[in-house]
């Protein structure tokens, strides 16, 4: 049998070398995968990793897709450090889009420069209040937050669906289930001409810094960390568990809501039945891939974003099926996470006899 045994010391060089090793392994495995499918492996790898980044537009898309991932993941990382499992960022993101987008529609034809800030604020607050529901259920009834937050995702999608099919449907939209296009005051300013890259990425990076400071320098952030690492120590010191649950959900909900409204007021420009291709779920992977550390999460967000772009490029340019890009994306994650584990653990073969 195989066992994992913690290493006494984790080598610093190896920690920096893991991404490189994982990259090399992915390329090797990719060559095998693509060759066996009869596809030129070099071209496929180039299409996946490099081609999306060869144009200014591509670079813009890269950062654009990383933005909601980063916003959601950085918020989730707070809770994950405190052992609070918000799995419903996707739902908070959707409600953020609904609340912020609702503002844009409510003030349609009556807007000014104040509109966008108001939309952002309401989007964030909407996500935050939606995140407060599982926190309340957890604190009041000890309901498992993994289940409640996940179930609320599907509720939120129904709410959005109802609104764009019904009351918020564009009256001039030929019955398509879409809202009106937001007015210019309700759209994120584009940062780079010729791309869709908007102000959201700056907001995401600034808030990442804010949360970094919160977690590393504030006492409340310290309490969250203690609650996650040693719940009994937190109880001993008298830190309120309920408060940690609430704060974690409020922060991650706010960030996810913000991701939702930046997405609809940035990349999309209106409310549509599906505002996110699963950013809220992918953000869970991003958070752990980045080891719950802000810097790591920034890198992880860009990596996963590249995976989205590369996957699309493979499908479009190489005519590869969605399943193949999925397998390749899976292999990439497998190698990154696997080599990460092996830096901290060694594999032992054979069982150790234990007293029955």
């Amino acid at each position: 049998m195989l066992r994992l045994e913690p290493r006494q010391t984790t080598s610093v060089q190896m920690q920096y070398a893991t991404p490189v090793i994982a990259g090399v392994l992915t390329i090797v495995a990719g060559i095998i995968l693509f060759s066996s499918l009869g596809v030129d492996p070099i071209e496929a790898l180039y299409t996946f990793f490099v081609k999306p980044l060869t144009s200014v537009y591509g670079l813009g898309e890269w950062a654009l897709k990383a933005t909601p991932l980063l916003l959601c993941a950085i918020g989730l990382s707070v809770g994950f450090r405190g052992n609070v499992w918000n799995i419903g960022a996707e739902g908070q993101l959707t409600i953020g889009a609904v609340c912020g987008g609702g503002i844009a529609l409510a003030f349609y034809g009556d807007e000014g420069p104040w509109l966008l800030p108001l939309m952002l604020l309401c989007g964030g607050l909407g996500g935050m209040l939606y995140g407060a529901i599982p926190a309340f259920l957890k604190n009041r009834f000890n309901a498992n937050e993994i289940l409640t937050s996940l179930m609320l995702v599907y509720v939120s999608i129904q709410i959005l669906g109802y609104l764009v099919h019904g009351p918020w449907r564009d009256p001039d939209g030929y019955n398509f289930p879409e809202s009106r296009l937001f007015d210019d005051y309700g759209l994120m300013p584009v940062l780079l001409a010729g791309t869709r890259l908007h102000l959201g990425v700056i907001i995401a990076l600034v808030l990442t810094g804010v949360i970094w400071v919160f977690m590393s320098r504030s006492f409340q952030g310290y309490k969250v960390t203690v609650a996650g690492q040693a719940p009994a120590a937190a109880a001993y010191a008298g830190y309120s568990r309920k408060r940690v649950v609430l704060i974690s959900f409020l922060i991650s909900g706010f960030m996810a809501g913000l991701a939702g409204i930046t997405e609809v007021s940035g990349a999309i420009g209106q409310l549509v039945p599906v505002v996110s291709p699963g950013y809220g779920f992918a953000a869970i992977i991003v958070a752990f891939l980045g080891r719950l550390h802000p810097v790591g999460i920034v890198f992880a967000a860009f990596l996963i974003s590249l995976m989205y772009l590369g996957g699309e490029a493979l499908q479009i340019n190489m005519k590869l099926p969605l399943a193949v890009t999925g397998v390749f994306q899976g292999m990439l994650l497998f190698f990154v996470l696997g080599s990460e584990v092996l830096v901290r653990y060694r594999i032992k073969i054979g069982t150790q006899a234990r007293e029955a």
Partner: protein
Amino acid sequence: MATSQLELKGITKRYPGVLANDSIDLSIQPGEVHALLGENGAGKSTLVKIIYGVVRADSGELRWKGEPISITSPNQARSLGIGMVFQHFNLFETLTVAENISLGIDADHDLKVLTSEIREISERYGLPINPHQHVHELSVGERQRVEIIRCLVQDPKLLIMDEPTSVLTPQEIAKLFETLKRLSSEGCSILYISHKLEEIQELCDHATVLRLGKVTATCTPRDETPKSLAEMMIGSELPVCKRTESAYSPDVRLALRGLAITSPDPHGTDLKGIDLEVRKGEVLGIAGVAGNGQKELLATINGEILSPRAEMIELNGEAVATSSPAARRDRGLGFVPEERLGRGAVPEMSLAFNALLTGNQKGMVSDKGFIDFAHMRDYATKVRERFDVRSDGIDAEAKSLSGGNLQKFIIGREIMFGPELLILGHPTWGVDVGAATTIHQAIVDLASGGTAVVVVSEDLDELFEICDSIAVIAEGRLSPIRATSDTDVEEIGRWMSGQFGEEDGADNHVAA
């Protein structure tokens, strides 16, 4: 000289980062009671696990009755005639005594025959037990008897006992020793692991002393003094704890008034109307066998378990029994929990960050809620220096410290906040002798400075050494409180089994 029952030569076992056993030699004669003595982490457990086949040695030789042998599993050890009574019992609560014993036997057997065998053994060795009783109904001492009988039905030639007395009252210990002496007189060898020196002197013929994985001495315990044995164990002279005049005063710092709670743990012990008062400068000891409500009492005083009525606990005259631990800390409570890693300290955090754990109300956090790093590090440094905490600086992770050093840090952290009342749970459990003395001295000094102190401990020697008064907790009730000078181990031991029927004595269930 006769052939040894068991002989070890050059046994070496290396774990990642530590040499647990370094070429250990040991030999046990038939019928000999041999003590294995050493501080926590000296390598005792590893060595007996090697003998019992749980762990395999990297190198070295085992001889059983003169024959070289390799023991690869506990099954094989049992078939050779090696029995082991672990510190933590392996019994199924829902099965009867006979069924439990039957499960431990590898060969085919008949339960009825076994039951009569159990009866016979229990009479012959003075181990009263009813084979048809369910294990969940048994007291800790009775459970240990089941474990011993389980070994004895297999007619062992060598019995290994791992710290058997830590869960027993003095009276139960005396009974256990009669059994063990009887066994050895019939030719069964006993390997007895303990760090309680008086026991070893009373029971054992020879002793092998381990320190840091090596044999540092062999001796005949009866020819030594507890002091000399302790010095062999720690490898240096034993420091002594100096009592100072106690600063007794009538001010009541802590009062429990009819404290009664239901334990949140379904297997825990409810507290049933505990009354006590602790005064300024007093050290009160609370003795008791493990699992009699100590855990609940400590958690309730600290506020991790809230009581139904605020008046049940008074801190400096203020009713606080429904306040949070942080609020009680504000009113001068210091608390050292019984678990160090994970409760008293966060294992993965540095000592500096662990100073902040309870130090947030002591100026380590600014008004705006930010951590004052300079203050925090300064405090941790001071604790480390004053309490001689051996660590790789204040940035060392708590889990990297030895038990004794971490305990010194936690106690130091609580003491240097200047508490008016300090509560300690098992302050020297698993701590080496040197650190224990430092801790005792710190407690005594703190009390002479006017702090009221409550020490909950299973170690009677410790309580008699440092306390002004002693009480016993048994099944969630508190005995009368006696001045240490007015009581003795005999009386406290009797109380530990629940016999202090002050109130409605009929309710006092006693496991005889």
